[in-house]
């Protein structure tokens, strides 16, 4: 399989935000991610697709070192954010995660008010001094997450009382409130209905203007709709990475073609 690993096929990215080289992840004895090298562009949406268990979420969680919380996970290789190795001993993962925000598969608002959910990140990072500044940050984040109109009259009611789609947008608002540079989204729409999904997708396109967004998705249509670059993972390896249009219309690797045409997966 080695000859098919085709890491050289990574397209040239004009301005790379994150560059990962030869990343390997082991969960105990299991080799979950094999020699992945990817350049993730700034102000672009990059989609990771692939069947379940192919390592795309694992790789996503490497990008903000969320794998550190799993005791048996071991990461090797190098991942650089703006040229700095995020796995350097001097890097504090807490500072990294303030720069690289994350939205999870299942909406996971804190059991607090909507306002407190959004204000939590800015508060612990000391982004606002006065109450009015915080109000402004919360409003901006909720507006960006397209939740302001629905939530402005109930800012102090519990975030867990929102509908599933609203909760996920609340989680996005919480992630953007800390002004990250990269936003990681782990299947953000898998628990949502088509209408909420459409809203979140619109939002992702909107967020692209200020962030680089990396999204893991099971839905190839979604990848095709929202992303500019797509990476296809299979069995822990990066099979193919390129312009989204090229991946979906003219895949170079036969496995990619089988997957997008529904023959494997």
């Amino acid at each position: 399989m080695n000859d098919m690993r085709l890491t050289e096929r990574a397209p040239v990215v004009d301005h790379s935000k994150i560059s990962a080289r030869n990343v390997n992840v082991h969960y105990g004895p299991a080799h979950a991610l094999k020699d992945v090298s990817v350049e993730i562009g700034d102000r672009l949406v990059t989609a990771f697709i692939g069947p379940s268990g192919c390592g795309k979420s694992t790789f996503l969680r490497c990008l903000n070192r969320m794998n550190d919380t799993i005791p048996i996970a071991r990461v090797t290789g190098s991942i650089e954010l703006d040229g700095q190795d995020i796995y350097d001993r001097r890097v504090d993962p807490v500072q990294l995660r303030a720069k690289v925000g994350m939205v999870f598969q299942k909406p996971n608002p804190f059991p607090k008010s909507i306002y407190e959910n959004v204000a939590y990140g800015p508060r612990i990072h000391g982004l606002a001094r006065a109450r009015a500044d915080m109000d402004a940050i919360v409003e901006k984040a909720l507006r960006r997450a397209a939740l302001w109109n629905e939530a402005k009259d109930r800012l102090h009611s519990p975030g867990t009382g929102l509908s599933g789609g609203q909760q996920q947008r609340l989680c996005i608002a919480r992630a953007v409130a800390t002004e990250p540079e990269v936003l990681l989204m782990d299947e953000p729409c898998s628990a949502l209905d088509p209408i909420a999904t459409a809203q979140v997708e619109e939002l992702i396109d909107e967020l692209r203007r200020s962030y680089s967004v990396v999204i893991v998705t099971h839905s190839m249509q979604q990848a095709a709709r929202v992303s500019q670059r797509t990476a296809f993972f299979h069995l822990g390896s990066l099979v193919e990475y390129g312009e989204t249009g090229q991946i979906f219309t003219n895949p170079r690797d036969p496995r990619t073609e089988s997957y997008i045409s529904g023959r494997i997966g």
């Binding site: 903000n64 303030a98 059991p111």
Partner: protein, 451 residues
Amino acid sequence: MTDLPLDAAAGPRPAPRSLLEADPRTAARNRAEARFRAYGLAALLVGLAALVLLLGSILWNGFPAFTQTRVSLPVELSQAELDPEGTGDPAVIAKTSTFGFDDLIEAALAKAVVEAGIGTDLEPGDLADLLSSGAAAQVRDAVLADPSLVGQTVEFDLLASSRVDGYLKGRVTRESLADDRNLSPAHLDVVDALAARGAVSRGFNAAFILGADASEKRPEAAGIGVATLGSLTMMLVVLGLSLPLGVAASIYLEEFAPKNRFTDFIEVNIANLAAVPSIVFGILGLVAFIQFAGLPASAPLVGGLVLTLMTLPTIVIVTRASLKSVPPSIRDAALGVGASRMQAVFHHVLPLALPGIMTGAIIGMARALGETAPLLLIGMVGFVASNAPDGVLASFTSPNSAMPAQIYEWAKRADPAYYERAWGGIILLLVFLLLMNLGAVLLRRRFERRW
């Protein structure tokens, strides 16, 4: 999508069966379910009956302890006896011991009997058996508190002796007095006559709830109040030490500690400690706190330390379970916005685990409250706490007992009047426990949040 060849799937179909009648398998399953329900209900009813029986017998046996018979008696506080020179100085009056007051009370009793027109063969000294042997001390204390009473005839409400009390409560009968050396049926005639004149009354026994234990001769004067204070002090020590220690240990083990052989070893041993018989903790407390550290024996401080050791494993186990039950997505969410591990724990995980931790702490405390065995070894059982401690700090270090120890002590004593008090003590202990559980429920309500 099936791999089975079509013709194999379409084998001969079983004969159609009516939906209106149960087939044998369904009928058997339904019978098994009905049987299981009946067993469950029966178990529940047996348990309920046992509970009713238990509570009923406790209340039935314990309620008499909450009333006490008193005899109101005009006592002439003779100036000639108490203060011949009329100084009015308490120091002079204090020279008269309780024996001197005994004489006054005997005289007063004899006079009352004569005035009531009761014919009896009993000597004044025998008549005094109607009253508690602490009656003289009661009169003496009153006189010392107010020396101006000397020379007057004052009406005192004196404690009746435990057998007179028992007679009015129906515990003592004329037949049961046949071979009793303390009281004779003739005494009861006097009691009846006095009661008819309204001099004997049964009232609420506040001294039982608030007072101190008394010596074996005076069950009528014994109370559980000081032992309650001892229990309360111990609970303060337990709460103050085991909650912060237990919660801190649990948070460390659950959220921060690396998972390795050493933490596994600690984990197993915490589980083992929770199963160690409580008397072992008593021996540990005796050796560590009294013999080695030199803390005073019988002190609620030491009792509290021993019970803390006993409660800690329970609190750690319960706290860890409630930390574990907080969904990991909450931790991820906090870490994802850049919170540190500690911020994630203290801002998000701990508040969600708090109701469970509270419940665990209260369960541990309730167990500690009812514990007698470890107190045996540090000298808190069998100790007669005859007066309340001098102050707040002294209540931690001065010798005291605890409610269950006091109950055990009373149950051991020969006089049947103590039997009644043991049951009454159990009622108070249960009330205490109920209050603690009520507190737990209220705290739970207060902190409960859903996610």
